[in-house]
């Protein structure tokens, strides 16, 4: 039993830190730190910098362009980049589609698509959820009817995160509506967003931002070779995708950075003639979440260690998802509380990094309330925390 990283791992950590100091654009890091809006260009730039270093696809096999990291190295990389306020790597190509293609894609698909993910030629988005199929994903209804060498797609996808930045979408579609079980008869298909018949419409979220979209498909023709794997076996690939990438599901590094940010704010806000951070009640709220996060770091490492020994931690990664998002939500909630009356004023333009108006109240105030509301999504999207609790219970109870 040893909680320390190995000397090699510590050397790697320094290497990552050094790289971040050198290459992470300070303007981007500052936006992340202060919760300002990131542009598509910010994300593309960071993507390219990582790719140049060969560190973009940490969990891809070396032969497909991965760096050959251990689980611990991936953890260190995720942790350090988040702490340094790097943007998250946009997951759809690198973390979601990539592994599916590597495991189930044809050689042609691998050769064509994987390099385009790495070099940024393709920005992928995810076509899973539908208006009637949220938690009950397998009840999806978008149809793909075979017509010669093509599928003809009709239906609607929703909650398509950053779909308005994407040129491609991977979709779950129903190829056999008569299948006995709803999990059968689903296929996994790659679609060019520029195909005729695709219409994308923004969904504005409660904080007034445009992050997610609806995507409508009307007689969209997709070549059959864009199907991944076998027809009607898409559910297998979809599940693989959902459970594959769990190194960073708890978002530890991001929460550590958010806690630092909160602490800074709580040290500046005054209450009762002393910094809010010294107020016993607020200090207790912060200490509770700090301790929970310290515990979570070790829980996360324990799960990773088990996984590297070949464990298959489905219930455990659901735990990481639940508590990881709860901690992050609690941190944004405390940051909102810390602001006091200044949570209420809202100047949307102040979320742009090049806004140069005088701030209302303290300069860190502008994005806080909106960020709190936006982060309510963490327990809803990516498999709601209710779904995760059911997975844990069913795994442990075996009922």
């Amino acid at each position: 039993m040893d909680l320390n990283f190995t000397p090699q791992e510590e050397t790697f950590r320094e290497e990552v830190q050094h790289f971040l100091a050198e290459r992470l654009p300070p303007r981007t890091a500052d936006k992340v730190r202060t919760n300002k809006r990131l542009t598509r260009d910010d994300l593309v730039e960071w993507h390219a910098i990582l790719n140049e270093r060969g560190w973009l696809a940490g969990h891809w096999p070396v032969e497909h362009g991965g760096p050959g990291w251990s689980v611990a190295e991936r953890y260190i990389f995720d942790y350090e980049t988040a702490r340094a306020h790097a943007p998250r790597i946009i997951a759809f190509g690198v973390n979601m589609l990539g592994p599916v293609l590597i495991k189930y894609g044809s050689e042609a698909q691998q050769k064509y698509y994987l390099p385009r993910i790495l070099d940024g030629s393709d920005w992928w988005c995810q076509g899973y959820s539908e208006p009637g199929a949220g938690s009950d994903l397998a009840s999806l209804r978008m149809s793909a009817v075979r017509d010669g060498d093509h599928y003809v797609l009709n239906g609607q996808k929703t909650w398509t995160t950053l779909g308005h930045y994407a040129n491609r979408i991977f979709c779950l579609v129903r190829t056999d509506p008569a299948a006995a079980k709803k999990q059968q008869g689903i296929s996994f298909i790659l679609v060019d967003m520029n195909s005729p018949g695709i219409e994308i419409r923004p969904i504005i979220t409660l904080d007034g931002e445009h992050e997610v979209n609806e995507v409508f498909f009307t007689d969209v023709r997709v070549p059959v070779e864009n199907r991944v794997g076998e027809e009607n076996h898409g559910w297998t690939y979809a599940k693989y995708l959902l459970t594959y990438e769990r190194t960073n599901i708890a978002g530890i590094g991001g929460s550590v950075a958010a806690l630092d940010w909160l602490r800074r704010i709580a040290n500046q806000q005054m209450q009762d003639g002393r910094p809010l951070a010294r107020d016993p009640y607020f200090a207790a709220r912060m200490a509770r979440v700090e301790i929970d996060l310290e515990n979570m770091k070790t829980t996360n490492l324990r799960v990773l260690a088990a996984a590297s020994h070949g464990g298959a931690p489905e219930a455990e990664s659901s735990m990481l998802k639940i508590r990881g998002t709860e901690i992050r939500q609690e941190l944004t909630s405390l940051t909102r509380r810390a602001l006091g009356p200044y949570a209420q004023p809202f100047v949307p333009e102040a979320l742009d990094a090049d806004y140069n108006g005088e701030p209302i109240g303290p300069d860190y105030a502008a994005p806080v309330a909106a960020e709190y509301f936006n982060n309510r999504k963490l327990s809803i999207f990516g498999g709601s925390n209710e779904i995760q609790r059911s997975i844990i219970a069913k795994t442990m109870l075996g009922l």
Partner: protein, 374 residues
Amino acid sequence: MDFDLTDDRRMLADTLGRYLGDRYGFSERTRIAGSEEGFSRTSWQDLAGLGVIGALFGEAAGGYGGAGFDLHTVFEQLGRSLVVEPFLGTLLAGKVLEAAGGQQALLDEVIAGTRLVTAALYEAEGRYDPLHVGTRATAREGGYVLTGGKAVVPQLAAADVILLSAKLEDGLALFLLPRSAPGVTIREYGFVEGGRGGELLLQDVVLDADARIGAGHSAQELIEHAVAAGIVALASEAVGIMEFARDATLDYLRTRTQFGVPIGKFQALQHRMATVLLEIEQARSATINAAASLGGDRLSRERAVSAAKFTIGRVGTLVAEEAIQMHGGIGMTWELPLPHYAKRLTMIDHQLGDEDYHLVRYIRLGEAAGAEAA
């Protein structure tokens, strides 16, 4: 022991509810909340005409009510329709004017809806404590000079007259400030939940002697009294919002199907919803206790008021978060009314003192009560 509204209040609730239902529907509300002024002068005139502003004040002050349960009746309806009209500033300033006396002409105009007032009682350094006042007033011949600033004042830019607190040499004092007075700077902005407010800056603002009000009273007491009324109002607004959120969520649980059944069939959601329902009843009870306390002695009143604001803060967060969570993705969208109710409910905790502030205050008042009893 009687938990029914009087006939007068029931009529007021019905009239107000009907007006808001007809003229202040959600899309109209959205338009108004995002408009340049952040409220509707037409609606305000209508509401004044219906006697809604008058209901906030006693008959001696030209109103038609003014008791805790009058505020409760009005603000619960305002909450249900998520109204962004300038009621809070009107209530806070008006309650001071009513208690201080000598400003009947202004109050008449306020009640008639022809002049707008607001109250600038909080400062950036004081956070939630209205008795922490850094703004200074210096007496000089024939009047006063004021310098300082006030934070997050509701509907500041639209107010004709601003009630504010300042420190005189011999203690706290209250003043009426015309918005257009020289030396006054206003930085206005929208609120995250809709409606508008602003920062008030005073640089050597010269006021006549009669701008000072309530000189015969304790300014602390006037402020405390007005804030107590404000808390009853916010708590009641919160209860109205919670009831909307409850109904919307129950409806969604009944109609949204997943896995072939309405999601309200899922026991985990059922049991959490049962807790939400129970907590809303507790929040309503806390609000009733506070409304009833407004006429009582200071210590009981202030304890009941802090208990209510604490409860509303705690339950409000629960209701807002659970309602969004149970709605799932759709609960995150701008287009649905529910999340806007959730946002306002959350922001009520940021006005007139939050959950933690009032828990501490409740404890301290309890110690004071214990010391008094001993």
